[in-house]
Symmetry: C2
């Protein structure tokens, strides 16, 4: 199958706010090859990601992503890996390229699975897709009372695990944070799984992060996620040594497998969280899952957008029965819900799993794409390099 | 001074080829504040870098770079650092943001220096700007004969040091590479400083890189640059242990200070090479210079474009007399030469230094900008987010 076309659909809610909700827009990718189409989704900024696909070449190691993709032959997983290597080399100096490529890579797996009539997790070598306990991703409330209410709401909706993040956490005193943490634990009850996301709020400040450890451990948080910048390996490593029961979690910012592996090797994390829409797709995410498995670190997906992205992010560890937790967008915006016709709804036990249908197993809604699509045109030197395609 | 405007000028040669020559295009940045203007240059892909400045917000941690820059007050170096921190946080999920911000940051230092009548290196705390020995950046020839001729030409032009890179190196056998390395040494004579750049050709393949060490040491190369991907810390660290006389060099791919520091701490490099057009500008580059100094690692600039970028890249280590080598674009394309009215020409001793004039000390040529400017228009949802500005 030859890659005939790669189309980007920039979708957005009519209004986008500064809240830490990544489901307010989406960059959907459609790849056509061999008479089939596959779909993927790039996480993060749509416009720069489109630009990285269509930009004029700057030099041999600064080529647009399109140069390594269009016209390529794709008959098996090894072909996806070969294109990935070419993108990494030929677009070495286009920093955004990893995000652009991530959505294309997902779409290639989807397409390959459809061609073979197999789910992606089987193409990855897994004999089965094991169930995962979804955790609700929630934002801390403005007050501890609001945090309590949000946690209780998640529990009512059937979640046995919840992650609280962003909002006021880390911005005030350790005592104020403790109030939120104890409220979150109270909401989930003694058996609920409590996860905490600090959203890089401490930058590289080890002392401020350390000042929250006692409350995290008293509230029996399973993990402390992203206390620092994605690159602060030394600070991660130092903080990890100071943890008693709580473990560090991180990795969503990794835009290649090596970055995630460094968080394991040098940062001492206990949970590695991978966003297939950023790390370069499903292939490098699987590499990180294997790496984590060999080192006793738990792999978890990072997903805050659509169920297309959710299906993709479950594939790399679908077959690893011991890794039972998965991030589940608990309150996505309307476009993220509407984008797919089907959804990975929790079963009677409250569990979700990567679907058994071919490819990623998700049906894209043409009506939703049309409703939410943003018109974009990029012209360079008198030529139209990009114009929003019709679905 | 309030930042009133940030303008991007995308310049390009009429023809851009796949050769490893980063001077074929340029993204010039002009910042206006307090009735003054400052100039900077983003390294790497212009179109995605412009897109990262103007893109619509995706969510609170995925805002365009413009959101953290326009309207900000800039009265001292601490204001530049504060804006840098905001860009890192607010544009956390816009991968290209670091490249975009790099050129703006340079321009802010230029502007601040002009406002104070001081060169940037003095604003960084250096009492003097020490001379550096420029090395010519050359591409390996297609044959060892051609490599020899290129080295001899550099010597005739007065260079005492030369770096050979890219071209066929690493693509054939170790014996073929050895022919090139010995030809390069022959060209430079016994006293010439020989530097070698493998341009990430070995990816993560330690064995293939190791197979070149003997010839590198026999040819008395001072450094082996970028044998691996920018993120291959473990491979760098392993190869460093196998080196006897040659030292590893790397860092040009760093898009924040931490990445460069990890190459020092975990990668065992002996030379850290920083491109101010990528790492986030002059501030984080100075941070890396201080970090390197404290650890016995030599700081070197990475510059393959204009003399505006060259001046910026000399500032972070201008005052460090012990660091005597600097990269010098030996054969830049016409636009990179024409972009500035003045140039950092080697003195009678063949040495260059960061200029004593205020700011970065470079005059931009309006005629060159007009001659090489590429017309770009980006429209989103019916609004023009970017149109090439007039100089």
């Amino acid at each position: 199958m030859k890659i005939d076309a790669v189309d980007f659909f920039y979708l957005s809610m009519p209004e986008v706010t500064t809240e830490a909700d990544g489901s307010q827009d989406a960059l959907l990718v459609r790849v056509a090859a061999g008479g089939l189409v596959g779909f993927g989704e790039c996480e993060a900024a749509p416009l720069p990601s489109i630009a990285a696909f269509v930009c004029p070449m700057s030099h041999g190691a600064c080529q647009p992503v399109s140069a390594s993709v269009l016209g390529r032959v794709i008959n098996g997983p090894q072909d996806i890996a070969a294109i990935a290597a070419d993108v990494a080399y030929n677009s070495m100096d286009v920093l955004q390229a990893a995000h652009t490529w991530s959505g294309i890579e997902m779409a290639l797996w989807d397409l390959l699975g459809k061609a073979r009539g197999e789910p992606v997790w089987r193409l990855l070598g897994y004999p089965a897709s094991h169930p995962k306990t979804p955790y609700a991703s929630l934002l801390f409330g403005d007050s501890a009372q609001e945090t309590l209410a949000r946690g209780q709401d998640a529990l009512r909706r059937g979640f046995k695990a919840a992650k609280f993040g962003w909002g006021p956490i880390g911005r005030g005193t350790p005592a104020q944070d403790a109030d939120h943490l104890f409220a979150a634990r109270e909401a989930l009850g003694p058996d609920g799984i409590l996860l905490v996301d600090m959203g890089q709020i401490f930058g590289e400040d080890l002392a401020r992060a350390s000042a929250r450890l006692d409350a995290l451990e008293q509230a029996r948080a399973l993990w402390l996620e992203e206390p620092f910048h994605a690159h602060a390996l030394q600070q991660y490593g130092e903080l990890a040594k100071r943890c008693k029961s709580v473990k560090l979690a991180g990795g969503e910012g990794a835009h290649n497998a090596a970055m995630a592996e460094h968080l394991i090797d040098y940062g001492g994390i206990g949970f590695v969280q991978i966003d297939c829409g950023r790390i370069g797709g499903i292939g490098p995410a699987k590499q990180v899952a294997d790496y984590a498995l060999a080192r006793g670190v738990t792999y978890v997906n990072h997903t805050f957008t659509s169920h297309l992205a959710l299906s993709a992010s479950l594939q790399p560890y679908a077959g690893l029965a011991a890794y039972t937790i998965c991030e589940y967008p608990a309150a996505p915006k309307a476009l993220a819900v509407a984008m797919t016709q089907n959804h990975l709804t929790p079963d009677a036990m409250g569990l979700v799993r990567a679907p058994a249908a071919p490819g990623l197993g998700m049906e894209i809604s043409a009506a939703a794409v049309q409703q939410y699509q943003v018109a974009v045109e990029i012209r360079v030197a008198g030529r139209t390099l990009y114009a929003s395609p019709l679905f």
